[in-house]
Subunit: 394 residues, 2 copies
Amino acid sequence: MAIRGAMGLPVVGMVGGGQLSRMTHQASISLGLSLKVLADATHDSAALVANGVTVGDHTSLDDLRAFAQGCEVVTFDHEHVPGGLLEAMEAEGLAIAPGSAALRHAQDKIVMRERLAAMGVPVPPFCPVATVRDVEGFAQHVGWPLVLKSATGGYDGKGVWVVRDATEAAEVVGFGVRLVAEQLVSLRRELAAVVARSPYGQGAAWPVVETVQSDGICVEVVAPAPGLSEELALEAQELALRLADELGVVGVLAVELFEVVSPEGVPGLLVNELAMRPHNSAHWTIEGARTSQFEQHLRAVLDWPMGETAMTAPVVVMANLLGRDDDGDLDRRLHMLFGRDPGLKVHLYGKTVRPGRKIGHVTALGDDLEVVRRRARTGADYLRDGLWPEDRRG
Amino acid sequence: MAIRGAMGLPVVGMVGGGQLSRMTHQASISLGLSLKVLADATHDSAALVANGVTVGDHTSLDDLRAFAQGCEVVTFDHEHVPGGLLEAMEAEGLAIAPGSAALRHAQDKIVMRERLAAMGVPVPPFCPVATVRDVEGFAQHVGWPLVLKSATGGYDGKGVWVVRDATEAAEVVGFGVRLVAEQLVSLRRELAAVVARSPYGQGAAWPVVETVQSDGICVEVVAPAPGLSEELALEAQELALRLADELGVVGVLAVELFEVVSPEGVPGLLVNELAMRPHNSAHWTIEGARTSQFEQHLRAVLDWPMGETAMTAPVVVMANLLGRDDDGDLDRRLHMLFGRDPGLKVHLYGKTVRPGRKIGHVTALGDDLEVVRRRARTGADYLRDGLWPEDRRG
């Protein structure tokens, strides 16, 4: 359906008003578009900055339908639209990208694990479990502790539990959610391979990055992943492009990976999670790559050719800004930080500051890994609590 | 006055809803802000993409006052707010940046020329004129043809006339606008030195660029200006920083320059025009510099420290996209262009396409001047008329 806006260009809608939608709107402005947003509330991150905001419920078919009817194509800022509603939209001829058949692999970890295993893609040993007895049975193969994950709805470490024994497992089983058990893999570090794919079938990959987690939340992304062999980097990119292709992804696909080492000392990769939308592990591309993941996502869902993914500096590090208590001092701290590091790029999401909440990120670019990393870390830490490295006690 | 928005950050307003406001809004999103815009109409370029849009009249003190009362500081996308209203706003304690005392040098060419001459800044020989006799008198010193300029309100070649004799001069005098006459300077090329200055007094300069004009409209900007001696580049930057300082500019100051050559063959500079807002000659900074002019303008008006101005590539060329007849084919052409040049960055302003109107720009980055220049030119030309260089005759 040709729904056109200014300059005769297509109207793109995004379900969800979080920071991904906010930054996609920001990218859409260059392309002559203005992202339409279906937000939960007028104070949502994207709703604060976009012109075409509809407040509605992403679990209501009526709301989704009404929103989609004003768009040439609808895409997503999160995975929380129920699969049945996505299928209903498609049945009505409403264009969504990625489609429901692809998206279910990002919505349901059991579906994803089983599909990837069937494709021969390396994943951690896993088993869907419904009872403590199921967990105990799986533990006989992989040992304790092991990981239990909610099949749906988890993010930022939520919905993931490391359990040491049957008693702890029983508690998680008691939550009453669909679960998958996984081996607690011994890993060297986490990586992410982020790509985009258009309906035409064109794929484009950014350099593979290292992602540093703390309490299940990504705190830092280093591009390119330091010391990663060219061989393993290529393997990760090819794997992500293959997944995008075989699952029929349209838009950005982020493949979260474990870098593991075999008993023989040979490094290898396991797929941890998939996300089919712009992803935290590629926020660095805003300044760090010729085409950002947000522009690329728009180009992909519009079936426009992909943009160049080359880096704009040898090293780019992004550090997430996590909220602490809101002391109302952000303006002053921003001022001080800009004075100390004029090259640092700051992104704030307009969100209410709450402890542990991702409220922004900072990006540093340069030549020297340690320097760039320290600058990004210093920026995020200072914005959080107003302390410079030299003011922190050992 | 502390008017705060999301995250306790200041609210910035911009008078005018054109593309400068659109791109300033885009930059404001990263900083956690959301630009408030006083637009003429809801279909204005910035009004299409920003959330906080007020439709109002920038020549009405009531409208300006009501708008400014919701902002910590108000800045401008154009020079068309009458000076008396700016002074009235200041008298009421409303914060505007730049202030009226600085802004009048960008609003009135006679004021500007006289002030610069008094400062000893090199400008073309000029003379305010009211009658044909005045023009004839000035012509006795500088010869025909000479240039007549409307003291106020001109842009993109409008309000500038080259007259060959008294008869032609009489026609321009007959328009009944305040005029300044200038020598038709024999120039090598046009340059621009763009800087920003904060109230604190910090200044930051981007590399000096060459601007290429056609029919009085800027069609291309090359950064850095090819073959410009380091000495002259430094002189231009120092001149722009000095002007910003002495005129008390807050925000971006663009100094349009003529590069001239003395009879002895010594190159020199003359100041042509001043603009105190983001300027076409620095659109290349969006991707081409670590801090764009739009982010820098916001930092300056908020009295935050200036960002790094280093280039992100050795050569950056921006080509303006000028409208032709609107054939509704832009979407297809964008598609084809992205397929041909995945590294080209396109900026579209959401404006109705009209012949000769600036409706967007394209930016190319790279190492080789001729290649980068050809890419930018090819992109802008193809988006305009759908012809590749190889399809053009002779």
